[in-house]
């Protein structure tokens, strides 16, 4: 999986994390590591460009959620401890859509994974880059 980083400026600085490839158990920790690196470098609002992600398993959901927690300033649960990270996902679903981590253009197949697990209500999904940036 390729992970590319761009910076954009809307009402606030927004980091665009562009993922390319297939997101699964073999690489989701790489995505979380990159997000941690960005957070420590000052990123507080992140847009995940999912347009080039043509596959996402439940491991990808763990990555998305961990990044959302990071951007909120919370410590994500250790994903290597297992899928207990979903515990926090469920708690967060009740608190509404995440404000500091949003998705751009996920493919319908990827959206289907979000939908099957009820996680689509948890993430703000945009189709337009400029509108996504200005939404932060």
């Amino acid at each position: 999986m390729e992970i590319l980083v761009e910076q954009a400026k809307g009402k606030v600085p927004v980091t665009i994390l562009k993922l390319q490839g297939e997101l699964d158990g073999s690489n989701y920790l790489d995505v979380i590591s990159k997000a941690k690196e960005l957070y420590h470098a000052g990123t507080r609002d992140i847009l995940l460009d999912m347009s080039q992600v043509n596959f996402m398993s439940s491991a990808g959901l763990v990555a998305l959620h961990s990044i959302a927690l990071l951007m909120r300033g919370d410590s994500p649960e250790d994903p290597e401890s297992g899928w207990e990270v979903f515990h926090a996902i469920d708690r967060d679903r009740e608190s509404g859509v995440q404000k500091h981590m949003k998705l751009l253009n996920p493919q319908p197949k990827v959206v289907s994974t979000l939908h099957k697990t009820g996680m689509d209500v948890f993430f703000d999904i945009h189709q337009n880059l400029q509108m996504a940036i200005s939404s932060f």
């Binding site: 073999s26 439940s58 697990t117």
Partner: protein, 142 residues
């Protein structure tokens, strides 16, 4: 009717993409809809991921994947030599209970059940597990 077999003596998570490629190669001639194809690839990925992470504790392990196609059915048999575990007995994630009470791996199993029409488990006589996943697919030409 077709049959395909993939044998990995020391499978690891980095093999997931190759496993999806093998699975896709076996079913692409069937004119299965894109969504059904994706469901099959997702279910296979979740099943193998569970075996590698939980059955083999993220250590390399033996996995055999057999794919049978017949009469608008795709049947995927996944065999391993990990300790006995029957994922068909994993209850669905109940959103009304605290997730802290849920066992690990349930989301992957839940996705398998969402994607496939049938999931069967049996302990292999020589040890290990055989998981059978069945999907009745919709042809692109229907």
């Amino acid at each position: 009717m077709g049959n395909g077999l993939l044998l990995l003596n020391s499978a690891v998570l980095n093999d997931l993409e190759a496993i999806r490629s093998f699975t896709n190669d076996q079913i692409k001639s069937l004119d299965i809809s894109e969504l059904d194809t994706y469901d099959i690839l997702l279910a296979t990925t979740e099943a193998v991921t569970n075996i590698l992470l939980h059955g083999y504790q993220n250590q390399p392990g033996w996995i055999e994947i057999e794919i049978r196609t017949q009469d608008n059915l795709v049947t995927i048999l996944i065999r391993d030599k990990a300790p006995s575990f029957d994922p068909t007995q994993v209850p669905p994630p109940a959103l009304e209970i605290p997730l802290e009470e849920r066992p690990l791996g349930r989301m992957g199993v839940y996705l398998i059940k969402q994607c496939m029409d049938k999931m069967l488990h049996r302990d292999l006589p020589t040890g290990g597990n055989e998981l059978t996943l069945v999907k009745k697919y919709v042809s692109n030409y229907v």
